[in-house]
Symmetry: C2
Subunit: 144 residues, 2 copies
Amino acid sequence: MFSKACEYGIKAAIFIAINSFEGKRVSPKEIAEEINSPQAFTAKILQALARNNIVYSIKGAHGGFELDKKTIGAIKLAQIVKAIDGDSIYNGCGLGLQKCDENHPCPVHDKFKLVRDELKFMLENTSLEELALDIKAGGSFLKT
Amino acid sequence: MFSKACEYGIKAAIFIAINSFEGKRVSPKEIAEEINSPQAFTAKILQALARNNIVYSIKGAHGGFELDKKTIGAIKLAQIVKAIDGDSIYNGCGLGLQKCDENHPCPVHDKFKLVRDELKFMLENTSLEELALDIKAGGSFLKT
DNA sequence: TTTATTTCGGATATTTTTATCCTATTTATA
DNA sequence: TATAAATAGGATAAAAATATCCGAAATAAA
Ligand code: FES
Ligand code: FES
């Protein structure tokens, strides 16, 4: 469904959110440990998230990744997925036709579009905040 | 969403279905042309579908791929997807946890499961027959 | 200003997916 | 039986995704 890079990106963002609520910055090393991902690869993904202004990176001593406590509620999964995997998951044809086109649909278009749109809606309406709070409450987990 | 192999497999199966309605066998060459896929790679996928008893392959002169006209309505997309991509799309965790587990859910579990189950339902309830008929009626297309 | 810390980013390596090539095997038919 | 036509399948290649390594640049603090 999502690429590994995207899975790591989502989990990393959630972990950064959790820590930002407590005013803590986190390093790629900590993040990789918490989400059970390869550290250097995770660092690359964090760079991409930073370039897309989804998370903030502070270089140098006492640096790390963080995000603005006030905007955590406004950051939706859709932004992260789009930044890493692009938007083919929202617009692409389920059977790989060059473009998904109502006027030249593939055989599964109508049915696929329903599922795809529901996924899109879900991602656009799920915020980092709710996911982070659920973890803090012990209702869900980032690894194992 | 699906692998290239799976996309090719679905389109190939639909094309074989269309031809089997007319009692015609088709070759990997014809199939690849009709679904706009690489021929040799498509042939590998056809072998996999044949090994899974989804399509039938007849070797030798006048051979080719076909399927039993009477069972086309019973073949669902889910079988093809499972044969080629496995069932991680039905059971796997959206964030890549080792297993999707109600008792140890990832942060998106509840929401993801809804989408995943809808996809599963769609694939399990869509037959090759309806897709093939739609194409014959000019309502959908296998390429471009 | 020096040092320690930390992200950035280019280069490289590994693995998986996608794709191609070639020969063996099977089968209908002349 | 000989031949041509067709799928099977192993070997290989190319491309993309995943992963690692290392030096450069930035920054806080001594
Ligand atoms: S054309 Fe294939 S999903 Fe729309
Ligand atoms: S645990 Fe992640 S989707 Fe179920």
